[in-house]
Assembly symmetry: D2
């Protein structure tokens, strides 16, 4: 049994990690820590777990955490890298924040507005997009778990990146849980319900992450990316438009690219959030529009699972040589 701990359990990604790990047959949960609500039973933080989880919220104690084989950090960026510095070398780390996703600390500074708090570790971090970096993840001491939007877009683009001309257009739509738990201006029910809007039009932090990872397939990749807020709890659907001059059998090309990847399903009709909500799947549908020479790819994920905690556990399974699917057998939230 692998001993794992989760740091940052009062947010949605921490909660989702707990739910997955409790059903995982290969792990034993060592510590569940948070900066707030220390000492309270977890069923006080989440009344839904009354009778289900007996544990108490623990403080973040690096000495105790070191006893774990793996620590998941589900903390805000900049906070996360601080803890990571103390833990690195003593335990494996999967960081769900943005802190170790960008290789170049100047790019980090530009997009996150602060100097990188642990740039000395950037060289150690492996970008944890499981399907693309499986072998490096297997060896990693520190995995930077990808952003939710980035996951949905990179998987849609990677198979054809080498054939692209011009900029990629990625139009993404996300459920509200992507914004995290707790109050944020503009996320009141009366503002989101029956509404829809674009945001971060002038630049979203997942753009450098997407371009960095896709550069290994195409040095010149550039992405125009606009995220939108859907009035639903969960799920991201990205519609990606790419200029490809020559028609190919894209269904086969995608299927071959993801051959052996259980969690990526290349499908032959447009998928919906209902196809994946509650699961670790990414469903991808490619369609070539001859009139405009655009390859249009629709990809869907559950932002909390394949877009965050599920992929984190998938990466853990890879790091410890477990079945990649272990713990990730949840069924769709439908109806």
């Amino acid at each position: 049994m692998i001993k794992v701990s989760v740091v940052g359990i009062t947010g949605f990604t921490g909660l989702e990690l707990i739910k997955i790990l409790l059903n995982h047959k290969g792990v034993e949960i060592a510590h569940l820590c948070s900066r707030s609500r220390v000492g309270e039973p977890i069923f006080k933080v989440y009344p839904q777990f009354s009778g289900v989880i007996e544990r108490v919220v623990e403080p973040i104690d690096v000495e105790l955490l070191k006893e774990s084989d793996l620590v998941f950090l589900a903390l805000p960026h900049t906070v996360s890298s601080g803890i990571a510095k103390s833990l690195f070398g003593k335990t494996k780390i999967i960081d769900l924040s943005a802190d170790f996703r960008l290789k170049d600390p100047t790019v980090y500074s530009k997009w996150y507005g602060v100097e990188h708090p642990a740039f000395e570790l950037l060289g150690e971090a492996v970008y944890g997009l499981s399907e693309l970096n499986r072998e490096m993840i297997a060896q990693a001491q520190l995995v930077a778990n990808p952003g939710c939007y980035a996951t949905s877009v990179i998987l849609a683009v990677a198979p054809v990146a080498q054939f692209l001309e011009g900029a990629v257009i990625a139009d993404s739509k996300s459920g509200v849980s992507g914004a995290g738990r707790g109050f944020k201006e503009g996320l009141e029910f009366c503002e989101v319900n029956e509404n829809f809007r674009a945001y971060s039009v002038s630049g979203h932090r997942h753009i450098p992450e997407m371009e960095q990872e896709l550069k290994s397939f195409n040095e010149n990749i550039r992405i125009a990316f606009i995220p939108h807020l859907l009035p639903v709890q969960r799920g991201i659907l990205s519609t990606v438009y790419m200029q490809v001059e020559r028609e190919m059998d894209f269904f086969k090309l995608y299927s071959d690219f993801f051959n052996g990847d259980y969690f990526v399903r290349v499908v032959n009709s447009p998928p919906s959030l209902n196809s994946v909500k509650g699961t670790n799947f990414c469903d991808i549908y490619p369609y070539y529009d001859r009139r405009t020479k655009r390859l249009i790819v629709v990809s869907v994920i559950d932002n909390m699972i394949k877009g965050a905690s599920g992929q984190a556990v998938q990466n853990m399974n890879i790091m410890f040589g477990l079945d990649e699917k272990e713990g990730l057998g949840g069924f769709v939230f439908y109806p």
Copy 2:
């Protein structure tokens, strides 16, 4: 391993049964049958199961079904009892339709508008409200799985039924999945969304079921019951108002009554659908209003799980001497 089959898998309760049984460690699924779509892979009926379930929809073949230790019938009423007649005596049966819930065939005729198709079996059927009839369920050959509304109201009333004066008022609100899968007039998105309404005001079929079961606690019980349609997928919340002249420690009374019942949680603040959605729990909150001498009880369940397929599996576990919780460890759909 118990061999189980499900008949009627194209509806929501059948789908939910499949999802639960696939995670159940004590069963082996023998046959998945339906009246329609026979021969198609299940992932054609539910694209969400692509790559997850390989099986094909089978026709309803009584000879094959007899090889099962247990058959779940997830069929419309009147259809269900027809199949049950053929199977009775050869295999155990849990019927999720309304056909065997009412002991008195004249009451059935009155509320369902047809003569009972299998009244000779009525004496064999045990009403499958797990917490109340556990011992009879353990011995049963035929279990009538309770209605969703009935489950939420009976559990709220039973502990105090003997103390009641006057009629019980049960005001229930249900998510739309309770109406089943497929088109029904008035269930279009534009009619349900941003809307709310009462229905079956002149009498809902779950009333005789509630009164029949509560009569064992109080011969004179009468219930005024109004269901309402919530613009959500899942969940039932019932607010029950009961006249009790003398104040008692109702929290203790309810806790004692359900002592040892893992799936009933007596809680000390009003529960929400979020407390139970995705689980087999029924959360119950009692509050005594001295001003009006009304005991007000709020109960919540997931209509698809404790209100249907989850309780069916709970009953199966009881019938076969398994851990009552087996297969029912799902976590809340939250966020």
Copy 3:
């Protein structure tokens, strides 16, 4: 043209007042005031009004407000009565807060937790339930506009209040706009959407208001009232259960009671929020359940209109001898 002003325009009731008054042919808007955002154009507060409303938010200046024929106060309780004191005698007032609804200042103190800030005016205030108090409203200098829940319940009960035995059970369900604009804990999208819950189970502030007004019909009236939060923007549906021993022609009784009341429609099938959302109507459906001797009445209103700003304008029309319907001809928000 009547000169009217609105104080408190950054909240939902203030916004709704502006929308109604701009379409009202008998009024001229003098001042639109607020405690916050003074000096900003209204289309900065509500971008939806860009190009539609040119006015600027004004400070609350009692000297200027006195020039109005009528001032609407759309302010929090306790704040409202402070302004009302300064204005009383100089201009007519319609107060949409709770400050002047309760005749007895000790009852106010009990439910609102503070001493009444202007108890000397309580004797002057008329409870503005238009259909019940039309003649007193016509003469009033100060109208206390009713609470939204109170409106929906009082109209459902008043016609039969004299026949009732035992406590009235009022089970109400409200859309989220009833909680006002801006952040409140528990009203985040991810907490309200796909959820449903009861609240204020131990006592809601609209109870004394309901009982006070219904006492003129039945001295012994007592109400058990539980509000619930619906995942919709607008609307209240109240299901009211009343013990009436003798069956009557309740449809006729209600129709006669509201004869001549344009905004109350007695209907012969259960109404939905869609019946009234966006309008000043209250639809009422009575049904007598012989089995339990309960008269069950379903009433629906738009909480922002008949439950707040619409009824306020209806009261203004009565006070100034205008057509009661003027300005209130909006159509349902459907689809």
Copy 4:
């Protein structure tokens, strides 16, 4: 007073026309006709209009309709042109179907799968995008009211069409009312709610309409257009990506282009459905992304109003020399 009739009132666009026309000071409603429910009071078709509209549904009688100054046809395509043929020359016509939008009958046949039922009238029809074709509309006997998606995309593209290189990418998201009233497979509440999906990926019928109208600005225009289904009642948001090599002051360019157009608002932050829902406005936000040389334009409309019945009335106002805003002063549905 202009005498107007509406043919096809049981659908959503017909309903919306009635609501607008009842508030229009320059018209008198002559006939409200339908193929179904003839003879029933309109408040039977729409219970929400009980007490508000007294009229009865009339049959479609061309002789009677000819007495109108203008007839709105809110009928399915192919049905609409049949009626139009009988009426043309006797009364002005605004057709809300797709029948007269495409100038070329072979293009119509290709996209609608049937021969055009009234191709002899195609030369008479004016495409009713009010802001672009105001002068021709003023002279027209037959106006083809634009499609909802087409309206949102054409207004976003027209001002810069002459500067574009490569294909335009139009990613649109629509509320469910765009699919019309009544049951359609896949539009059940449980399928749409908490879900999101692309549809008509292989080609939507509004594409030829968009390209036809934009060709007058740029002969080589080509559009890749993907519509998506939002879980909301109303509203379309289109995110349009256009390659423009040289940066300009696009805010000024758009503002100048729509100078004098009351119903198009060029805005300086991304608009939401809440900005326009319930109104005839189209809000447009241009943003230039230097990194990718893409001009990104977000446009929002209410699909039932500016996307259908509101624009139809705007066109009527233009045809009869009325104030273009008359009858279209509705406020946003917010909260």
